[in-house]
Symmetry: C2
Subunit: 329 residues, 2 copies
C-alpha cells in the first residue's frame, strides 16, 4: 500500500493575523469564538487584514491530522477542493511541503479559509468561510489513490452539503468494497446535533474507528457518561476512541478497553487537540502498535500541540515524541 | 448474613480543634501535613488543645468507610482496638450511633487518635498517635461476627506491627475458609513502599477487590500509568478499583473495565475521599448493582465528601445521594 492514511474533508487555509483588540470590536466578534461567515463578510475581513501581515497555513480538521501523521513519519494523502486562486495554490504547496500527498481538486469558487484573529493576550477568534470546500463532488474522489491506502479517514464536517455528502459516500463505499478500514471523527458537538441520524447509520454501516470527544460521544449516543457512550459506540464500531479533555482518553477495540492517562502540560491553545490525538493514534495504528500505545501516542501528541500556539506542532517532532515513540508498548 | 461489610483496622479517634496559626509554629508542624507522633508528643499536644474545645469523632480510614456504608443504608461492622479510657468509650459509642456494629476490643494502652489542627484558612494538619490500635492481636478477631458478613474489608495500615499483621491474617484466613470475599485498600503510597512484597502476596492469595489510588496502584505494580497498573492488579485480584483523583476512576472485574467520570464539585477538603469511594462502591456491591453503578456510587459519594470539610458526609446522606442511588444502572 502507498499510504497509511487517506483523508477526505475540507481544506481550509488558516490565515493567521495579529490584530489590535479594536479590530474585534469593529467586526463585532468576541474573543475565542468561532464564526461561520459568508463570502461577503469573508472578503470584507480579508481586505481589512491584508496589510497586517497574513500568515497562510494549510488547515481544516482532517488536514491537520494528515499533516500530523506525516510529521510523525507516516504516509498520508489528502483530498478536498480549493479554488483556482492564490490561496488554493499555496494550500496545496504547503500541504505537500508538509509531507502529505495531495489529491486536492480545484474549481472556480474561492478557497475556503479560516481567518484567525490573534490578539495580544494570545486569544484566537476564528472566522471560517467554507467556499470551494462545499463543492467537493463524487467525481472529485480519486478512486485509485483511495484504493492505495491502508485506512480512510474523514470527519462529520463533510455532511453539511449534499454534494459533499455524496462525495463522502463514494469514499466510504470505495473503501468498504476494497476492504479498507474506515475511521471517522464526529467533528464537533454541533455537527453531531445537525446530522445525528446520518452519523449513526454511517458508523453502523461503514466505520471501523470512531473518534469523538466526550461531548460528541454523549450527544450521539444520548448517554450522560463516558462509559455508557463508549459501550453504545462499540455496538456500532469495532474501535472507539473517546477523548476526555484534561482527564485523558478511553480507547476500546476487540476485548480491550484502555484508559489513557493525560500527559500533563501547561495548556497554551487547545485548538487542534482532537486532530492531533487522531494523528498520533492513527500513526501508532499504522505501525501496528498496541491499543494502549496508540492511545499514548495520541495523548502525548495532543499534549504537545496544546502546549504551543496553533493547531500543529512546530520544532523537531520526532525528537519531541521520542519519550513515547521509543517505547512501543 | 448479618452484615454487608465487616471492617478490621485502626480505630483512631479524630480530635478536631481550631487553633491559631501560631499554634502550628509552636509545635513546629506545617499546614496540611500528616505526622505520626509518639505518646509523649501526643500527650503534650492533647494538653495544649484541651481548653480549645476538642470535637471527638470516630475516625481511621476503614472506620470512615464503615460509617459511610451505614450512612448509605448498608449493614456494617467493625473491629479494632481502643484503650479503656474516655476516648475509647466515646469512639465505640459514636461508632454505634453512626449505625456500625462494634466488635472493638479494649486494652490498657491509650486510645489511638488523630489530633486535627484546623486553622482559619481551613487547612488541616494531622497528628496521628496509633496507641492501642497497634495492640490488635489474633485473639481479638471475632470469628463468629466475621463469619456473619458478606464481605471483609481491611487496609494496608494493619501491616505496621507484627501482632496487627497476625490479627489481619486471622481475619483473612477466616474469611477465605468461609468463602467470604475480601476487599483491601492499599492505604497510602508510603504504606505500599513499606510492605510491597507482603501486599503482593496478600493480594494474590486472598484479595478479591483491591482499592488503590493511582499512586498506590503504580507503586505496587511498578508501572507508570493507570492502564498497565490495572492489568497487573487484575492478574492478582478478580476486582480492581483505581481512583484517579479529579480525573475519575477505573473499575474492573470479570470481562468488564469501566471508566467512571468524575463528578464535578468545588473541593473543600479531600480528606477521606478514598474512604468514601470505597464506601459507595461496597454499598453498591452489597446491593448487587452493576460494576458501573458501584463505581458511580463511589465517585459520587467521594465527590460529596470532598465538597465538605472533614472525612465524612453530614446532612441527609440518602437525600444527597438520591441522584445516583435512584438510578441503579
Amino acid at each position: 500500500m502507498q499510504f497509511d492514511v487517506f483523508g477526505i474533508e475540507n481544506p481550509l487555509i488558516d490565515l493567521l493575523v495579529t490584530v489590535p483588540d479594536e479590530f474585534l470590536d469593529r467586526f463585532q466578534v468576541e474573543k475565542n469564538k468561532m464564526y461561520l461567515i459568508d463570502q461577503e463578510r469573508h472578503q470584507l475581513l480579508l481586505a481589512a487584514v491584508n496589510d497586517l501581515g497574513v500568515l497562510p497555513e494549510p488547515g481544516g480538521s482532517c488536514a491537520n491530522t494528515m499533516l500530523g501523521i506525516a510529521q510523525l513519519g507516516g504516509r498520508a494523502a489528502y483530498c478536498g477542493k480549493v479554488g483556482a486562486d492564490d490561496y488554493g495554490r499555496i494550500y496545496i504547496e504547503k500541504l505537500e511541503q508538509g509531507g502529505v500527498t495531495s489529491f486536492i481538486k480545484t474549481d472556480g469558487h474561492l478557497t475556503g479559509s479560516t481567518v484567525i484573529l490573534v490578539t495580544k493576550d494570545a486569544s484566537r477568534t476564528m472566522n471560517t468561510f467554507l467556499g470551494a470546500c462545499q463543492e467537493l463532488a463524487p467525481e472529485d474522489i480519486p478512486l485509485d489513490g483511495l484504493r492505495s491506502t491502508r485506512l480512510l479517514y474523514t470527519t462529520g464536517y463533510l455532511w453539511d452539503t449534499e454534494t459533499q455528502q455524496q462525495a463522502a459516500m463514494v469514499g466510504l463505499n470505495t473503501a468498504k468494497e476494497a476492504g479498507i478500514p474506515i475511521a471517522m471523527s464526529l467533528a464537533d458537538p454541533f455537527c453531531v446535533d445537525r446530522h445525528k441520524d446520518a452519523f449513526l447509520q454511517i458508523l453502523d454501516g461503514y466505520v471501523d474507528w470512531v473518534f469523538a470527544n466526550q461531548d460528541e460521544a454523549q450527544a450521539i449516543t444520548g448517554h450522560d457518561n463516558a462509559h455508557q457512550a463508549l459501550l453504545a459506540l462499540r455496538r456500532l464500531c469495532q474501535g472507539v476512541v473517546i477523548t476526555l479533555g484534561a482527564h485523558g482518553a478511553l480507547v476500546s477495540a476487540g476485548e480491550e478497553t484502555v484508559y489513557i492517562d493525560p500527559f500533563r502540560v501547561t495548556p497554551v491553545d487547545t485548538t487542534g487537540a482532537g486532530d492531533a490525538f487522531a494523528a498520533g493514534f492513527l500513526y501508532g495504528n499504522a505501525q501496528s502498535c498496541s491499543l494502549h500505545q496508540c492511545g499514548r501516542l495520541g495523548a502525548y501528541f495532543a499534549a504537545q500541540v496544546i502546549a504551543q500556539m496553533g493547531p500543529r506542532l512546530s520544532g523537531n517532532v520526532r525528537q519531541v515524541m521520542a519519550p513515547v515513540v521509543s517505547d512501543p508498548r
